[in-house]
Subunit: 340 residues, 2 copies
Amino acid sequence: MGAKIRFFRGINYLWVINRTVVMTPEITFPSLLDIRTAHARIQPMIHRTPILTSSAIDRIAGCEIYFKCENFQKVGAFKARGAANAVLKLSSQQQSRGVATHSSGNHAAALARAASAAGINSYIVMPSTAPEIKKKAVESYGGQIIFCEPTLEARQHTLEEVVSDTGATFIPPYDHLDVIEGQATCALEIWEEGLSLEALVAPVGGGGLLGGTALTTHSLVPTCKVYGAEPEGADDAYRSFQANQLIPMANPKTIADGLLTSLGNLNWAIISRYVADILTANDAEIIAAMRLVYERMKIVIEPSCAVPLAVVLKYPECFIGKKVGIILSGGNVDLGKLPF
Amino acid sequence: MGAKIRFFRGINYLWVINRTVVMTPEITFPSLLDIRTAHARIQPMIHRTPILTSSAIDRIAGCEIYFKCENFQKVGAFKARGAANAVLKLSSQQQSRGVATHSSGNHAAALARAASAAGINSYIVMPSTAPEIKKKAVESYGGQIIFCEPTLEARQHTLEEVVSDTGATFIPPYDHLDVIEGQATCALEIWEEGLSLEALVAPVGGGGLLGGTALTTHSLVPTCKVYGAEPEGADDAYRSFQANQLIPMANPKTIADGLLTSLGNLNWAIISRYVADILTANDAEIIAAMRLVYERMKIVIEPSCAVPLAVVLKYPECFIGKKVGIILSGGNVDLGKLPF
């Protein structure tokens, strides 16, 4: 592995801060063996989540859908996989200094929990304006919160300070090979069920889950088409796909609050190679799909999680009559603010 | 079986209309063999629902809870079991004339669906004021709705007319041995998992589920205590239990809308013999338990379904340190009116 990788793995917090770093083709993505090894590594820290079906939704969609329920995952989201893998792959010297990230979402909770489970410290940089419920989640998993002003600059600066003071390793939420490798274990569990899917749909925000899903599926069942599902109001992956180059997201606006982030560099490198297409849905379509899951499947999902079903219903030309896998990414929703 | 039973099975719609009929000890309750036979009978029409656990809720409750998820059952509630059993036990002559009931709740949908699956007609008497969503549910399962004025008299009169016009068999929602036998198959599935539970808690409204649960458990594991969980605002089972005689409910008021009904005669006969105790919770406690299930288990349940967890949290003296089964009875909730 070349200099870029050393840079990424070494002082990797700069990777996200300095977005001008250019990807080169010399990067080695996790292999199927790497993903299988990661799965064995994180096994004690995660749930093997169930795959559910709904004959009512199948009738509506005109296809046979298999829902991989990561809303039942530890911390309520697939993020538990990537965070656990990244923490467990650190050297014992690195582990002794802890891990750090800036996030107020599922990654923060997942990293705090993975660190606690591994018996190490975690430092979570959060804007002082973060909702009380998110702070409590991180604290309940044993994470140490460092508050900052609610600006990108303050967040990055505070993270740099924390890393410099503690020697902790920065684990970014998606633009990191160990995180992607961890998220790739979700599709591995799907394929281990022997379902002979013809299409597999995952939501795309930063691209950790979609990237990992594409890597696993390309290795195991290259004939299966992997689709990214994205909100119209945060469609950087869609536009990047159309333009054949990474276009960062500016001013995203969607109810799917887990998908507001821009696609990562590593993630784009994988997605541009191995994903069949990016399909988008608007907020009304996302809410309708979300409601359908609550009503027919009786499970709790967050809005971001409903985007794959929304696109499966919206683009029958891609899915009708097929066996389709959908990754339900998470269930951490503010129950007081459900959109119905 | 004596005259009372013939009366019940024959023109059984009179049973509910004429509440002065007195139970006699000559009634033979379904045996374990009957319940096993019912389970085999309804198998093609129902789901074998999963049993879920939550380490977070276990920590809060101080006991080991196994949740039997009938919210994932066909039509979203355990009612699918009793309705299927009652329909399938009819003679082919009875079946050819269809089935009838008055209900706007889960039993109506369950009976319509069971009838459709058996290829027979179902006539559902509903108040003209019933919510649109309930009408649609019955129609979507192929039930024929007959509207009546929203009074008890109109409902009973309309049902009598329907039965007299069509020759359909009235299948009441709970006060019926075949219905109870069907609901008893839920506990059978729990015990087949070999969980060595020390307590099993089911909600109680009319008493079909609790009665069936008590019958199965008494036959299989008589050392396991079966508890009924009831809202304070509809506590006829609790008061009946205290008074050692059936006291009908007057003016019930609770968020647990599936438990507003008065305990049935047959149901009381079973419950008074085989249930250890009836525990009650108020609406605030029910809502808190409901929220806990949404947040920690990521599943959708209706308020009635949260009453067992509410009492397990409220009465630690009965449950702490034990292996406890909870039947989550259903998930048909108006998502626009969630109490949080």
